[in-house]
Amino acid sequence: MTRLKTAGALIGHTVERVEDAGLLTGRGRYIDDLPVRRDTAHLAILRSPHGHAEIRSIDTAAARALPGVFAVLTGDDVARLTRSMTVGVKANVECWPIARDRVRYVGEPVALVVAENRYVAEDALDLIEVDYETLPAVVDPEKALAEDAPVLHPSLGTNLINERSFRYGDPEAAFAAAAHRVSIRIAYPRNSCTPIETYGVIADYDPGEDAYDVTANFQGPFSIHAVISRALNVPGNRMRLRTPPDSGGSFGIKQGVFPYVILAAVAARVAGRPVKWIEDRLEHLTASVSATNRVTTLEAAVAADGRIAALSWDQLEDCGAHLRAPEPATLYRMHGNMTGAYAIENVAIRNRVVLTNKTPTGLNRGFGGPQVYFALERLVHKIADELGLDRLAVIRRNLVPANAFPYRTATGGLLDSGDYQTAIDRACAEGGLQSLQQRRDAARAEGRLYGIGYAAVVEPSVSNMGYITTVLTPEERAKAGPKNGAQAVATVAIDPLGSVTVKVASVPQGQGHRTVLAQVVAERLGLPLEAVRVNTELDTARDAWSIASGNYASRFAAAVAGAAALAADRIRDRLAAIAAAQLNVTADRIDFGAGKLFDRDNSDNAISFGRVAAASHWAPGTLPDGTGQTIRETVFWTPEQLEAPTATDGINSSLCHGFIFDICGVEIDRATGHVRIDRYVTMHDCGRILHPGMVDGQVRGGFAQAVGAALYEEYAYGGDGSFLTGTLADYLIPTVMETPEPLILHHETPSPFTPLGAKGVGEGNCMSTPVSIANAVADALGVEDIRLPLSPSRVSEWLYVEERPSSKPQDVAPVATGASGERLLTGAGSADVVATRESVWTMLLDPNTLKAIIPGAHEVRKVSDTHFRAEVTLGIGPVKGRYRADIRLSDMIAPEAVTLSGGTEGALGSGRGTGRVTLTETATGTRIDYRYEAAIGGKVASVGGRLLDGAARVVIGQFFQALARHAGGGGPPSAAAGLIQRIANVFRRRG
C-alpha cells in the first residue's frame, strides 16, 4: 500500500497526554465511579469452595428471606433464561457462566444474590446452603490425559477436548538427515497480568423490548459481543454493550469479564432493576481469567554448524475447566510464527487442548508468546551448548535474512519487515555486551554465580480474526465458511463550529489512545493538538464497530491509528477542494497548517480551518460539485494480508511482526537462591514510533510484568484443585523494589502493511523477558530444567540438590500440601489450667462450655455422646466466614485423653483434621497437651500459608485460653489459692 505522507509536526513526538489531568485529580470515570439509576441493586456471587464436586442441593430460602435481598438465582435459574456459551471447537460440551449440577473449579459461580447494597448481598451469600459431594480433581494437564483421570465433562467422555496435527515442508526427511537432534521439555506455569482495577458490570433489562443494556469494563475483542447476545438469546441489536470512559488496566484480562456480563444481565432481568457488580480481589485472583499453563516438548533437527533444519512441536495446552471463547486461541495465536525469528523450512506440530479443575483461561498480555518462546529460546540456547557453539552465533546463523522481507514462514506467517542482524549488532554494541561478559567473568573468578541470557523474539500484532479457525480441520473450515481480516474503525467528525472530534472503537485501558489519535488527526488537518478531541468510549448501539474492535493483540498503533489517519485524509481532501474554490487555486496547491488552509505558493492566500470545515453544516449548497459532506467520515480498514487459513493449514496469524532482542545479566545469591537482575538490555523494532514516551511506557510495563512472571508470580493450585494464591500477599506482584530499569533501544523498520508504518509494541517483553532471564539463570547455574517462577526456594533446590539430568518436567508442586493437595497444618502446644482433670474433662464434653470457649461459636449441639455439631464464624486474614463443623470423639480414656476428629465446611472452604488432647495432673491443676493435624481446602486455603498457619495457632490458642479461663473461674482444686496467684496461674502456655 502507499504510505501516507506526514508533516512530522506531531507524530513521533512525546507530547503530554490529554488523559492525565483528569486522572491525576481524581476525576477519572472508571466503572465503579459512574452514576447509576437510583434503584440500582448490587450483585454478589457465591462461589465454589471445591475444585470438583457434584452439587446435591442448594437451599436459598434463608438468603431470600433476608431483608434487603431482591433476588437469588442458581445455575438452573440462569439456564432457564439463557443458552450455553459458544465453544470454539467441535466438542460435545456445554459452557455456562455459572455451575449447574457440578462445580469444576474453585471460584466457579454457584449462586447469585441481588440486594440493596454489597454488604447485605454478601451477608446473604453466607445464608445459602449448598450440599456438595466432592469428586477427585485433576489439575495437572498430563495427568488429566491418563486413562483413570477424573473426567470433568461426562458428555465429552475425556479431558482431551481438541487435538490437531500439522505438517509443513518435510520435517521427517529433515530429521532423518540431521547431524543432531536436540530436544527440550518445558512446563510453563499459570500467571496473570492482574490489573489493579478489577472487573465491573452494570446491567439493565427492558422487558418491554426484551433488550439488555450493559456497561462493563470489557476490553474487546467485540467478537465476544456475538457470544454474549447468543447466550442471552437476543439479537445483537438487543444487547447494548458500553464501556466506561476510563479503565484501570487490562492486559488482556478484561476480555474475561464477559461471563459476568451474562450473569449480571440475567440477574437484572430477574430482579427487575439495574444490577451492579464490582469484583473483589479474591474473586479476581481466583476466578477471573489467567494465561494458560502449557507442557511443551520441542525438538530440532540441527546441522553441525548449528543451522536448524526442522522443528517438531508437541504442545499440551491447559485451558482450565471450560473452553471459553476465544480459547483455544492462546494456542493458535502464534501459529504463523512457530519458527520465531528464524528461517526454518520444516515444521511439525501436534496441538492438544486439555481441561483441568482450574479457572478457565483467556487473554493475557503476550497471549501464547511466553509459552512458545520459553521453549524455542531455551532450545536454541541448549543447541549451542550441546554442539559446543557460541549461543549468539547459533541465534545469528538461523535468523531470517534482512533481504528476505516480506518473508513467508513455514507455517504461513508473513513477516512484514525487519533487519534482525542489525538490531542484534546494535543491541550488543550499545547495550555493552562486551563489558557485561567481562563483568560475568570477573564475578565467576571470585566464585560468584553470574549468568548471561539472550532471547530473540518476533512480536506479532494485529491478529487475523481467522487464525482461531486453524483449530478446525480444513474440511470443517470449508463447511463453516472462511474467517479472516481485522476491521479497524475510526470516525472523524466536524461540528458546526468547525471543531474536530475523533471516535474510535479501540477501548483503551491506560495506553493513551486519545493522545495519539489527537496527534495523528491534528497533524493531518494542520491543527494544534488541543483542537482535536477524542472519544474512546464504545457503545455498540451507536458507534461504528466490528468484531475486531477493542484493545488486544497490540493493534492500536498499527491498525486503529492508521484508520484514523485514513479518515482524516478523506476529510482533508474534501476540505482542500472547498478551500481551493474559495482561494481560486487548484486543490493540489492547498496545504494545512496553524489552523488555516492556504495556497502553498502564497501563504497569504489563506482561509481559516473553522470556516471551511463548517461550510458543510451552514451552507452545503456552496460546496463545489461532487465534493460531498465534510461532517463525518468513518473508515473501516482491514489489511489484505490477513487471509483465511489455507487448505494446507498455512495461516498468517498476525499482520505485523516486531522484533525484540534481549540481553540479561543475572547474579544469584549462593546463600539464599535470590535471583538479582543485574543488567537488562531490550532492543525493539516496532516499526515507526508514533509517541516515544508511550512506546517506552509499554516496554517498561510489559517488562515489569515479565519480571513478575519470571521470578515471583504463579497461580498455584493444590492437588485437590484448591487455589493457593488468592491475595496479593500470596500472588506476588513486583513492587518498585523488585523492578529493575531496563536499557531500552530502538531500531525502526516501518511496516509496509500499515497506514503509518507502525507495529504493535505492548506485548513483546512478556514474550522475551521470562526466557531471557531463564537463559541467564541456566547460564549461571548450569541447570537445564529451568522452571518458572524462579523463586529463591526453587533456585536453592538447584543450588543444593544434586542436579540429575532430567528431560521431564516435574509436576507443579505447590508448597505444603497434603496427600490430596490441600494445605496441611500441624501444631502442638500445651496449657496449664487451675482445675482438676475431671472438671476439665467434663467441660470438654459439655456443649454449653464448648459454645462459650470455641472462638466464634454461635451454637454447639450434642448429637450423641461422641458427636457434636458446631456453627462458627472465623476470620482469617481478609477471609471471614461461617462454618459448620462436625466433631467426633474417639479413643476416649476418661479423664486422660481423647481424640477429636472432624470436618468443617463453609462457603469459604473446608477442612478436616484430628487432634489428640491429653490431660495430666499437676501441682496446681491440670496440664492440657494437644497435637493437631489439619488439612484445609477451598477459599480459605488460598489466603496462603503465612496467614493460615498463624491464624490456626491463634484460634487454637484462643480455645485453650478460654478453656483455662473457664476452668480457672470454677472452683477446686485452687479454691484455696489466692486471687492473685489464680490469675497468675490461669494461663501459662508452653510449646
Partner: protein, 170 residues
Amino acid sequence: MPRMNAAQRHGIEFTLNGRKVRAEAENRMLLSDLLRHEIGLTGTHVGCEHGVCGACTVQIDGKPARACLTLAQQVRGSDVRTVEALAPDPAELSPLQAAFRRHHGLQCGFCTPGILMSLDALLRERPDAGREDIREHLSGHLCRCTGYATIVKAALAAAEEQRKEETTNA
C-alpha cells in the same frame, strides 16, 4: 467512643479536604466505601481491599493511611485528605501532579491517586527525600502499568522543584 448498634447507621463528623462534613454509616462500613459511595468522591480507588495494593491511600491527620483498612467510624473528628484536594485549583495541577504528567508517571491512572497521596505526605514531611526514600515509600504501592521508573522520575522532579521553590521563597 460512643456505644453503637451494629444494625444502625451512625453519624460521623470529620474534616474532608478542608471542609467539615457529616455522613452516616453502619459500623462495618469501610472508609473507602464512605468516601466513594456515600460522599461521592471517587478519586480514591479500591484495588484489593486487603491493604496490599495502596490504591486507596488517603491522608488521615497528615499521615498516609489505607482507606480500605479503616472503618468509616474511625475518622470521627479527624482531618482526611484525598486526591481531590491536591490541585490548587480545578484548572491547575500541583507540582507533583504536573511532574507525573510530564514524566509519564501514569498509564491507566488507577494506582495513581494512592501513590500521589503517599508521595505528597512524604515530600511535605521530608522535603529532602531522595531516590531511596521515594522508592521505599513507593514500595507500599502496586502499579501494573508503568514499571515504576517514570513514577520515581516524576517524584524526584517534584521534590527537586519543591526544594527550588523553597530556596527562592526563603
